[in-house]
């Protein structure tokens, strides 16, 4: 029991530190209840058989990398294509990140909705008067920086599950934010503005060397076409768009629409 109490303590600490960790539990078969934890290349605990431990450790690493959670079946010594032992592998991936450029009213609402959805949220604006923790108490980080400077620092950590939302609708900020975001592996880039702002920004982005292929990756104007008006409704339309793109569902985006956004 002392060894397995250590498993919970390690799991708790890793989750609190937002570090990737995965827990395997035998849920059926010999050794039901036995656990094996993988945390940063280190395993703790045992499923009761060294061969099974070896095979499952390798599978936990794969499941964690893919962010998957589910049951896998093995023979008593970890044999493939056998069903004697069922092991439930639960991956605890760190929370996805949302970077919001522009410290405006829409940002405050988007921070709140993004936190409900479990994002780690960074608000970034170059203007110190607006980019304050008082205005965005829910944000994990408020950065007073130019967009390209922030992305130079943290852009490498952005992946498919993460999102960049550009809410400044000022070309001075929008262009470096978009070009910076396009240079990362981020899964979602949404850019706010009316259709007129969008058209004007598209010209500026092309001048900055953005290709048609890259332009096609932008959700602009940002959000689903659900008739959102208030900052809060707009935040919901943005987050709903992020979900729909991830799941590949056909939802009406403003990007694909025409005519005025507010009508």
């Amino acid at each position: 029991m002392s060894d397995s109490t250590a498993i919970f303590d390690t799991l708790k600490a890793a989750i609190a530190a937002e570090e990737p960790v995965a827990l395997a539990t035998v849920v059926e078969g010999p050794g039901t209840g036995a656990k094996l934890l993988l945390h940063i290349d280190q395993t703790a605990g045992s499923l009761g058989n060294p061969d099974l431990d070896r095979v499952v450790s390798r599978d936990i690493a794969g499941e964690l990398a893919a962010g998957r959670t589910g049951v896998r079946h093995y023979g008593p010594n970890g044999e493939a294509r056998e069903e004697a032992v069922s092991v439930f592998i639960e991956s605890f991936a760190p929370p996805p990140q949302m970077i919001i450029f522009g410290a405006v009213d829409f940002t405050a609402a988007l921070v709140r909705v993004a936190k409900v959805l479990g994002y780690r949220v960074t608000v970034c604006d170059a203007r110190p008067v607006f980019a304050t923790t008082q205005r965005f108490p829910g944000a994990d980080v408020v950065a007073v920086k130019w967009p390209n400077d922030l992305l130079d620092e943290i852009g490498h950590s952005l992946g498919q599950r993460d999102a960049v939302c550009v809410l400044t609708h000022d070309n001075k900020f929008d262009v470096p934010a978009v070009t910076g975001a396009l240079a990362t592996g981020v899964g979602y880039i949404g850019v706010m503005g009316s259709r007129k702002t969008h058209d004007n920004r598209t010209v500026r982005l092309r001048e900055a060397g953005v290709t048609d292929e890259q332009l096609a990756k932008l959700m602009s104007p940002i959000g689903l076409d659900i008739g959102a008006r208030t900052p809060e409704e707009t935040a919901v339309s943005i987050c709903a768009e992020i979900i729909a793109l991830r799941t590949g569902r056909d939802a009406p985006t403003l990007t694909a629409g025409v005519g005025p956004i507010h009508r």
């Binding site: 708790k12 539990t25 589910g70 049951v71 439930f88 991956s91 605890f92």
Partner: protein, 104 residues
């Protein structure tokens, strides 16, 4: 299970026994994915959830039995098990739960 870790930790420090129920598999339409978890303390406090509310009551009963007996078990809820458990998921799916004492 992330969302119940703090409560489990608190119960442990208070010396309260508890059981953890985790969704490990879902067939068909299920309200929550594998990994959804619920914990029950010996004095009947409940945190987390494993469905849209359809089977939580039955899971609490199972969990209290697990705390009492110390047994670990797989429990299945779904329309095909209506007779056995008298509760099911209105969505027509089946969920497989693993319930164990919190002794780790």
């Amino acid at each position: 299970m992330k969302e119940i870790v703090k409560d489990l930790d608190r119960w442990r420090r208070q010396g309260k026994a508890a059981a953890v129920a985790r969704v490990v598999d879902v067939d068909g339409s299920g309200p929550r994915d594998p990994g959804a978890a619920m914990a029950v303390s010996e004095d009947g406090q409940v945190v987390g959830s494993v469905s849209g509310g359809c089977v939580e009551g039955a899971v609490v009963e199972e969990a209290l039995q697990v705390i009492e007996s110390g047994d670990r078990r797989m429990v299945t809820f779904g329309y095909s098990d209506d007779e056995a458990f008298a509760v099911g998921l209105t969505c027509g799916g089946t969920i497989h739960l693993y319930i164990e004492p919190f002794d780790w």
